[in-house]
Amino acid sequence: MFERAYRQRLEADVARWQAEGVITPATGEAIRNSLPALGAGINIPVAVAIVGGVLIAAAFLAFVAANWIEIARLLRFAILLTGIAAAYGVGAAFAHAGRPVLADLAASVGAVIFGAAIVLVGQMYHLGDDFAAGLLLWAAGALAAAALTGSRGALAVALAAGSVWTEMRVSDAADVPHLPFVLFWALSSGLAIAWNSRVAAHLVALAALWWWYSPASGLTRDPFIITDGAALLLGAGLLLANSPSESLRSFGIILSVYGAFALAALPSTALAPLASGNADPPAWAVGCGLAGMVLAFTAATRQVGSAFAGISIAFVLIVANRLVQPVSGESWAAYALELVAMLSLVVSGMLDGARPRAVAGWLGLAALIASITWAFEGSLLHRSLFLAAAGVVTIAFAVLLGRVLPRESRR
């Protein structure tokens, strides 16, 4: 999807450069020829065929459901197995015919039928109600299918089932991380890297954030835990983004984008409970956050913008781990640190040419200013003084940057 949009933009640019005499027609042709051919996408007949296939599958399922009680148990079991076999058989036929999109779709349907079969077999045979174990089986089977068939859809099914599994396994003693999911996530990441697939990398990054969200939504209800996860994702992503491997680089960039947005979410979500928050964040989470900061600073040896990302992580972690205390009910130090953190994120993104990271910083700044301005408690006059002082300091910072940074880095 993104590749096609990029090609259209590039074609328009090459045509314009040729018309303006910037490049010769031969150079333009050389640029076009240097790119590999685009894979077959989803055209209108394929899209219509997909809808038809889904309708037939739904009709089959409805027919089976309508006659479920009347069908003998062993026959029901055979129907489920046949459904799985048919999905992968059709997928193999499409793959053989050079239709990768339809083959991917068939494998995805197979992974979904597999999940339905687990539930129905559990119902038919009165199997124990350890629902999480069933989800683990579903996730593992779908992941195996993804690895064997290269199906992004099956990976999505696997990550969705795995995410619900980890959510259910996070006990009410939420200070204990659910480590088995980390192994599952690492295997999924390995696939995304091996495929060099942006779609898979997005899915994996989302699953990582979900894993961090699970303990945050548990009994400890500590929203700051997700900040540690965001820091780790951003730092690790920045380090991978400097890798010589194209697939690792692409994977790292996507991880860092998700990390940046999650980091920027703190000002809008966490400043309100900051004053009342008193639970100590778990050590493992803090350790992960610090590791993310170290990784970002390590990445700065290759990309200077990563140093600002490291600064941003450091300041966010100081706030998230409650190392600054409110004075007379006002979290001035926390506000100031968050402002610097978000500004650093913007500068980091601009220096590295990473627009999404800069956008995350801008959004964080907007959320922070809004939360300072519209806070329910405290003096509005004090807030206006704080914002004015912050504005003066920021302008001074801009002047300093204008003098220090080379001209080409300022954009």
Partner: protein
């Protein structure tokens, strides 16, 4: 020497799709065969069901079952460290004067039993999160054995619910040497109403 990726790429697609489907079909098959093995080789244990909260009655087409051994005194485990909700425990049961199996003791790990005692594996629900750090066992444990649901044809659940609430419903469970249990038979007033085939 070829890289693993190159070797993988040379495998025909129908083989890869076939293996993917086979893995999933075998997984489903293992679920069924595993249960059949418990039914075939397990020791029979007769359990008295008991009424449950009405709000938990029939959800869909299954009956929620609770047993006298679903809530057991923690005994020696009381106050000892627990791994939290869902932690596996082993409940030693033996037949009482009524012929039903009752709980004798609960353990964090398997222990030796002598006939007619049987060890059933379960998971702790409430009761694993006491103490200031919520990391020790409470004095009483709610244990689930994986035999708390019985799926019935639509409309047949009410009869079982009524019998359960009058303590007329009992079950025979097969318990494997590992402690895992599966429902083998449902009885009302001692007469079998559902008998589970192996497959």
């Amino acid at each position: 020497m070829r890289s693993p990726a190159a070797v993988f790429d040379r495998i025909p697609k129908f083989v890869l799709f076939g293996v993917a489907g086979l893995i999933q079909m075998v997984s489903i098959g293992v679920m069924v065969v595993d249960r059949a093995m418990i039914l075939r080789t397990g020791t029979d244990v007769t359990l008295q069901t008991r009424p449950v909260d009405p709000r938990d009655f029939l959800r869909g087409d299954y009956v929620t079952l609770s047993y006298d051994i679903s809530s057991v005194p923690a005994g020696a485990l009381n106050g000892t460290p627990s791994a939290g909700w869902g932690m596996p425990v082993f409940v030693k049961v033996a037949p009482n004067r009524d012929g039903f199996h009752g709980a004798i003791s609960v353990h964090a790990a398997p222990v030796e039993v002598t006939s007619p005692e049987v060890l059933i594996r379960g998971r702790v629900g409430f009761g694993a999160n006491c103490g200031t750090e919520r990391r020790t066992f409470c004095d009483r444990l709610d244990v689930r054995y994986g035999i708390e649901r019985y799926f019935v044809p639509e409309g047949e659940g009410k009869k079982l619910e009524a019998a359960r609430n009058q303590r007329k419903l009992t079950i025979v469970a097969a318990v494997a040497p590992t402690g895992r249990a599966a429902i083998k038979r449902l009885l009302i007033d001692g007469a079998p109403v559902y008998d589970e085939p192996w497959f």
